[in-house]
């Protein structure tokens, strides 16, 4: 029984981590046209309880992508400098979509594991019934 509750909590932590990743991806996509916006990235790390790794996953601190901002030529823009350029965001929509797909797949896999652990434990409980 302990194994099942452990499996359930680990799967739940995976779901939570992927959901957080997806929310940062949607933030990035929403701000793809915001001048000066740097895309946010999160890394995953194994969660520690005290010094012991429980196998649960957690998202690390949010970091900003340090790559160069894109320079867009638009002389009439309020933020444009003397050469007529202004700094856009460094969000690449292609990368964000790929990241979102990966997060979705991992989310589905975790959900499947959660469901399976639940099914197995309920099958075990059915033994008590006649």
């Amino acid at each position: 029984m302990n194994d099942f509750s452990n499996a359930l909590s680990v799967s739940a932590s995976g779901l939570k981590a992927q959901a957080q990743r997806l929310s940062h991806v949607s933030e990035n996509i929403a701000n793809a046209d915001t001048p000066g916006y740097r895309r946010k990235v999160v890394a995953f790390e194994t969660e520690l309880h005290g010094l012991r790794a429980t196998g649960e996953v957690a998202t690390g601190p949010v970091r900003l992508d340090r790559s160069d901002l894109s320079r867009i030529y638009e002389p009439g823009h309020p933020l444009a400098d003397a050469t007529g350029h202004y700094e856009g965001s460094n969000v690449d929509l292609m990368i964000e979509i790929a990241d979102a797909r990966e997060a979705q797949r991992s989310y589905e896999a975790n959900l499947k594991m959660f469901d399976q652990a639940r099914q197995m434990s309920s099958r075990l409980m059915e033994l008590l019934r006649r």
């Binding site: 499996a7 995953f44 896999a109 399976q116």
Partner: protein, 129 residues
């Protein structure tokens, strides 16, 4: 009383093994994107159970006997060797884990079916089947 019947003991061990393995598969899945994480797995039940119960090996009959090795009921996880790892050092493959999960589910169902049918036999013997 049920622990003394061999078939109950075996199906119990089988279900426990499936449960342990399910926990590991869930852990691997959850860490499918964690950098530097290595996939873990248990040995198949057939190997573990045989090595524990082989007739030619000495068996520990009480705690402390044979350095207490008869008491290692928990199955030991090991790192999966030979798995290809991603550039970030993660060696979990979701497809393999899915296959493993199906395997675990079938083993667990099988163990419960064995337990249930033995229970029915027992009930019939008691005359209340």
């Amino acid at each position: 009383m049920f622990e003394n019947l061999d078939i109950f003991r075996m199906s119990h061990a089988m279900a426990t093994h499936a449960g342990n393995r399910q926990a590991l598969v869930a852990q691997n899945m959850a860490n499918a994107d964690t950098p530097g994480y290595a996939a873990r797995d248990l040995s198949p039940f057939q190997e573990v159970y045989r090595s524990d119960d082989a007739p030619h090996l000495p068996r520990a009959t009480r705690p402390g006997h044979l350095f207490g090795q008869g008491q290692t009921a928990a199955f030991e996880p090991h790192l999966v060797s030979g798995a290809q790892s991603d550039p970030n050092g993660n060696s979990v493959s979701i497809e393999t884990e899915m296959l493993r999960a199906v395997d675990v589910k079938r083993q667990h169902d099988r163990a419960i079916a064995i337990y249930r049918s033995s229970l029915t036999v027992l009930r019939t013997a008691l005359g209340r089947g």
